[in-house]
């Protein structure tokens, strides 16, 4: 059973979002990494890039498949997780921690509230299996 931490926000495309002050940290969920299997490459947006909500902004690639990552909300990329370039497997081992992808400054600080909460995301996972 995939882990779904209670304090995060989620998207239907299996990203998670953690509010950290005015910034949002984005990653992919335990369910997503588990489905994809061993990660081998991660392509992240450049800091400063403006992201549109729901648009692809990164690529995670496993032995099995490549998958787009979608921006959960509109905003600007403040920082990316450089460590993933040499250790993409961190996405598998710690998807909610050291495996974070990028940090954004949201255009609308309230936008995160429109995302799924943990129980809604759990319900989504249950409906998919």
């Amino acid at each position: 059973m995939s882990k779904v931490p209670g304090d995060l926000h989620y998207t239907k495309s299996h990203e998670w979002v953690r509010a950290e002050g005015a910034a949002l940290i984005v990653g992919i969920t335990d369910h997503a990494q588990d489905l994809m299997g061993d990660m081998v490459f991660v392509e992240l947006p450049k800091p400063g890039t403006r992201l549109d909500a729901g648009k692809e902004c990164a690529v995670v690639e496993s032995v099995k498949a490549a998958s787009d990552v979608y921006a959960p909300v509109a905003g600007e990329v403040m920082a990316i997780n450089e460590a993933l370039a040499n250790a993409p497997e961190t996405l598998n081992t710690d998807p909610y921690g050291a495996g974070w992808l990028f940090k954004i400054k949201p255009a609308d600080p309230a936008a995160v509230r429109a995302l799924l909460d943990a129980s809604a995301y759990e319900a989504l996972l249950a409906s998919e299996t």
Partner: protein
């Protein structure tokens, strides 16, 4: 729901992610297919290959029959136990399946065929017995495991007992022999040392547990695919099928066109060879980061080609693949791989295998070797 091998519960209990393969529910991996890959290259891994089908070919005409059915010539098999790799062709020279045939006795050969095409193969074999005195008997009562890696034999010495291990230890590569009712063979699909075991399906769970208790790592189809790809071995349905001949699939070495033998598909192959084989199968390695995917296009000065198998090589930390290219394309040639969003990745053709026996066999960066 697909078919289940006798080891299905064992896989599920070990936390395997199960996938459909040729109509069978099989383990893709048990957590990390890359870790399983490395375990086989460096230690030992165990695969459930019970989805593959053993088929007995028995009768006075068994040899003559298989000389007519197979593209490779079973007359090369002189010593009981010796195995041969061959394609099974249709009249157009297209590949119906690839298989291993073991010569067990003058009136007894054993085939191991792929899971997906198995039913069609058996129907084909039966439809072509014709004038031959031969019986075709599938053996769904047998299960099959592969134990592969540099530590495979050590594990066998602990598991198979004095008699079983004694039989195995005496086997040369590509030979098999019976130890009681169990058949052990020095064959595999990983490019590593090791063996395969055909055993009564009711006994395979116990055997599997005895190997894993020795530290042999359960490995799934994911690792099996990257291992065989590194070893430069074709996968039926990807690298060849009925739309291509062995001559276009890097398998000319498995076709025996000696003058004294007629076989199904031979006239088509002779014709193709006379007209010139237009395409060939070879290897591809990316220069930089990226993963090669089946179906992607490559381009070079000689035109375009198609990736038939692609992945990320855990041993090389590079994207690698098998590609079908125009005959003029030479190993060593630079080319471009068209990525999933149309981006161009620098690549190079190389003669497979990429890795065997834990050793890198290609020049990774094309700077001479």
């Amino acid at each position: 729901m697909g078919h289940h091998t006798p080891l299905y519960e064992e896989h599920v209990g070990a936390g395997a992610r199960m996938v459909d393969f040729g109509g069978w529910d099989m383990p893709l991996h048990y957590g990390s297919q890359i870790a399983e890959h490395h375990a086989v290259r460096q230690q030992a891994g165990i695969f459930d290959v019970s989805h593959m089908r053993a088929v007995e070919v028995r009768g006075a005409d068994a040899r003559a029959y298989l000389r007519f059915l197979l593209a490779n010539d079973v007359d090369k098999l002189k010593t009981p136990g010796k195995a041969l790799y061959s394609c099974l062709l249709n009249e157009q020279g297209g590949v119906l399946d690839d298989l291993i045939v073991y010569f067990l006795a003058p009136d007894w050969f054993r085939l191991i065929v792929n899971a997906g095409p198995a039913e069609n193969d058996i129907a084909w074999l039966r439809a072509h017995t014709g004038r031959f005195t031969v019986d075709i008997t599938p053996r769904p009562d047998l299960a099959m495991i592969a134990v592969q890696g540099p530590r495979a034999d050590h594990a066998a010495s602990q598991v198979l007992g004095d008699e079983g291990y004694g039989v195995l230890a005496r086997l040369k590569p590509f030979f098999g022999a019976f130890a009681g009712d169990t058949f052990v063979a020095r064959t595999g699909y990983t490019g590593e040392a090791g063996f395969e075991v055909l055993i009564d399906a009711r006994e395979v769970v116990g055997l599997w547990r005895r190997f894993t208790a020795q530290g042999v790592v359960p490995a799934g189809l994911g690792a099996r695919d990257t291992l065989r790809l590194e070893a430069g071995m074709n996968l039926y349905g990807h690298d060849m099928d009925t739309s291509v001949s062995p001559l276009e699939s890097g398998l000319a070495w498995t076709v025996s066109l000696t003058a004294d033998r007629e076989f199904i598909g031979r006239p088509a192959l002779v014709r193709q060879r006379a007209q010139g084989v237009m395409r060939r199968l070879t290897g591809l390695v990316l220069r930089g980061s990226g993963v090669v995917r089946s179906g992607q296009e490559i381009r070079g000065p000689w035109g375009s080609g198609t990736v038939t198998s692609g992945s990320f090589s855990p041993s090389l930390s590079r994207g690698i693949g098998l590609v079908r290219v125009p005959a003029a394309a030479a190993d060593g040639d630079a080319c471009e791989l068209i990525g999933r969003s149309g981006q161009i990745l620098a690549a190079r053709l190389v003669a497979p295998p990429f890795v065997r026996q834990g050793r890198v066999l290609i020049d990774l960066d094309g700077e001479g070797r």
